[in-house]
């Protein structure tokens, strides 16, 4: 592997890892703060991708589609939290698993009714439809760098939101000691709604920015969901920092596994998870 190829794979792995982080961050926050197992989290990724497909066709601009789609998905998340999820924060995990599995079926079928079962492409915006030449033959598409850029901006924004703002302080207080936070006047129900909607929004935005590269297809949420579970298990539930490091690690192992050991590539990430479990059963950064 020469340096240019290595660089390309490295950039790919970072891009994939950052994308996983967007999903896993929401998942781990929802786990950590509300204690909910959400199998339907992958569906929000799919929702985002399909919204990008529809809205970019409608507005003629991916940027507008992402803004509009982010707004729609946050509203969708708030509605879903209000209607169903908030009643399940105190139920056992089994009920949560079933509820969210039922939701996967519902979302998949609604997707099939609304958008059909075909694979769709989403065009890369013209402004980003160019490549950075690395050698005579190899180049790196600018759009992939854009994906990484969006993810980094959002990751920094998430960090600032949680660690520097008043809202973030309340979120952390709620995660640390729910009843204490409540008795100090924090509106914990509102915090839960905000965190859930934030998670849905992050997953949907990940689906939207990834859509031009991954294309848009049925069941696209399932495989990414399981990868996110691996990330959350490795990183430790509730830890956003753990999710970031685990996501980058998983992205790296998966991308380079496919290049160097193609026959076992599908299994490598799970072996990584097994190794982490042996070493630290509660993840690398258990809160």
């Amino acid at each position: 592997m020469d340096f240019a190829t290595f660089l390309i794979q490295l950039l790919n792995s970072v891009q994939y890892g950052l994308l996983l982080f967007m999903l896993a961050a929401g998942l781990t926050l929802i786990f950590g703060i509300m204690g909910v197992v959400n199998l339907a989290h992958g569906s929000f990724y799919m929702l985002g991708a399909y919204l990008a497909y529809s809205l970019s066709g409608h507005f003629g601009s991916l940027a507008l589609a992402i803004l509009g789609g982010a707004l729609l998905s946050v509203v969708f998340g708030l509605a879903l939290e209000w209607l169903l999820f908030r009643h399940f924060y105190h139920r056992d995990h089994l009920d949560q698993v079933l509820l969210t599995f039922g939701l996967i079926y519902i979302f998949e079928e609604l997707r099939s009714i609304l958008w059909g079962d075909d694979v769709h492409g989403v065009p890369i915006p013209q402004m980003l439809d160019w490549s950075i030449p690395l050698t005579d033959t190899l180049s790196y598409p600018a759009y992939r760098l854009f994906i990484s850029g969006v993810c980094i901006v959002l990751a920094v924004a998430l960090y600032l939101l949680i660690s520097k703002t008043r809202l973030g302080m309340k979120i952390r207080a709620g995660a640390f000691n729910r009843s204490m936070a409540e008795s100090l006047g924090v509106n914990i129900k509102l915090i839960h709604a905000v965190v859930f909607a934030l998670g849905v929004g992050l997953a949907a935005v990940a689906g939207m920015v990834a859509a031009p590269v991954s294309s848009v297809y049925p069941n696209m949420g399932s495989s990414v969901l399981i990868m996110c579970f691996v990330v959350v298990v490795i990183g430790g539930i509730g830890s956003v920092r753990g999710a970031l490091i685990a996501a980058l690690l998983v992205g790296f192992v998966d991308t380079f596994g496919k290049v160097l050991l193609p026959s076992v590539a599908g299994m490598l990430v799970y072996m990584l998870m097994a190794a982490v479990l042996l070493w630290k059963p509660e993840g690398l950064f258990k809160q």
Partner: protein, 332 residues
């Protein structure tokens, strides 16, 4: 984390009656049902074994596995590998071997997963099942995404003498029914054995069990391995019946369906798992008949069950009895 839901370990009379009537109906069914329905009921019975095996984890031990289909699939694949393309293979060594293979897979994966609790356990079982899924999905030598065909059902002959021929639909039906009864009897016995009591204790309070000197990880690993082996029995039968295995058998939908079956019937007593498996498979059949958008109906149904009847069908019978007892005590 244990499931706080109370379990119906002692079956009420009404549930026992339902089981006996059900058994009589199943014994009589091949004489009245058409071939299509005999095959469908065979499939339901296979799923009943699968659901019972999961109930040992989910209902008895309180471990929610979202990857139980992996062991089901492993045994199905074992039959596919063991059956040559041009001749049947003997039932008497392939069945134990396939079941042992599934048990071994569960033992190896169980070694890692019993270290985890609660949400982690759910996610890790699911992730490992996905690993097994990809192992078969990615490798052409293992059938790849297309799966493998099994051209012959296993051959039951002993030294040239053929006690029963599984190629016959009715024979296969009764063979499966016999295994359902055997597995049920075995698991009911296990439920009241020292092992079963220890597993139930782990569900109710694992810390206390450990404080009393039980090596809970060893117990959980035993339950996980046994459940995997029994899931393998179901998977073997599935492979033999359909003559075809593919990675979907190990997929996450299959695992979730099994959880649903156990919930639907009522957990922790194995009878509920049987009832749930029949009810779930029947509903799936009905929904697929009604509309091609059956996933919407199934999804809606699952959400409804979780919201409205979290203790399952048998649980509702037991609940009425409990309510009545409470009422009587108030009056008395």
């Amino acid at each position: 984390m244990s499931t706080p839901r109370s379990n119906l370990e002692v079956l009420p009379r009404s549930a026992q009656l339902v089981l006996v009537l059900g058994l009589v109906a199943l014994l009589a069914f091949p004489f009245v049902g058409s071939d299509f329905y005999v095959q469908m009921v065979t499939r339901m019975m296979i799923m009943a074994i699968f659901a019972m095996s999961l109930d040992l984890l989910q209902g008895v031990t309180g471990l929610v596995s979202l990857g139980h289909a992996a062991y089901f699939g492993v045994a199905g694949y074992a039959l596919a590998f063991l059956t040559p393309a041009d001749a049947p293979v003997s039932l008497w060594w392939t069945l134990p071997l396939a079941v042992a293979g599934a048990g071994l897979a569960a033992l190896v994966i169980g070694f890692f997963v019993v270290r985890t609790h609660g949400i982690y356990f759910i996610m890790v079982t699911m992730a490992f099942a996905q690993m097994v899924f990809y192992l078969f999905f990615d490798n052409k030598a293992l059938g790849g995404s297309d799966g493998l065909y099994i051209n012959f059902r296993p051959d039951a002959s002993v030294f040239g003498w053929l006690p029963f021929d599984l190629e016959g639909r009715r024979t296969f039906y009764y063979f499966t029914l016999a295994l359902v009864v055997i597995v049920y009897a075995l698991l009911r016995r296990l439920l009241w054995s020292p092992l079963g009591r220890a597993l139930a204790g782990i569900r109710i309070n694992e810390h206390r069990m450990r404080a009393m000197g039980f090596g809970t990880q060893g117990y959980k690993l035993t339950a996980f391995t046994l459940a995997g082996a029994l899931a393998g029995l179901a998977g073997y039968l599935w492979g033999a019946q359909t003559g075809y295995v593919n990675p979907e058998l190990m997929g996450f939908h299959m695992s979730a369906h099994a959880i649903m079956m156990v919930i639907l019937g009522g957990m922790g007593n194995f009878a509920g798992a049987i009832v749930g498996a029949f009810a779930f498979e029947y509903l799936l059949h009905v929904f697929k008949d009604i509309t091609k958008h059956w996933q919407l109906l199934m999804g809606g149904f699952i959400v409804l069950v979780v919201v409205a009847a979290p203790r399952g069908l048998l649980g509702m019978l037991g609940q009425r009895r409990a309510d009545k007892a409470q009422e009587d005590s108030h009056h008395g």
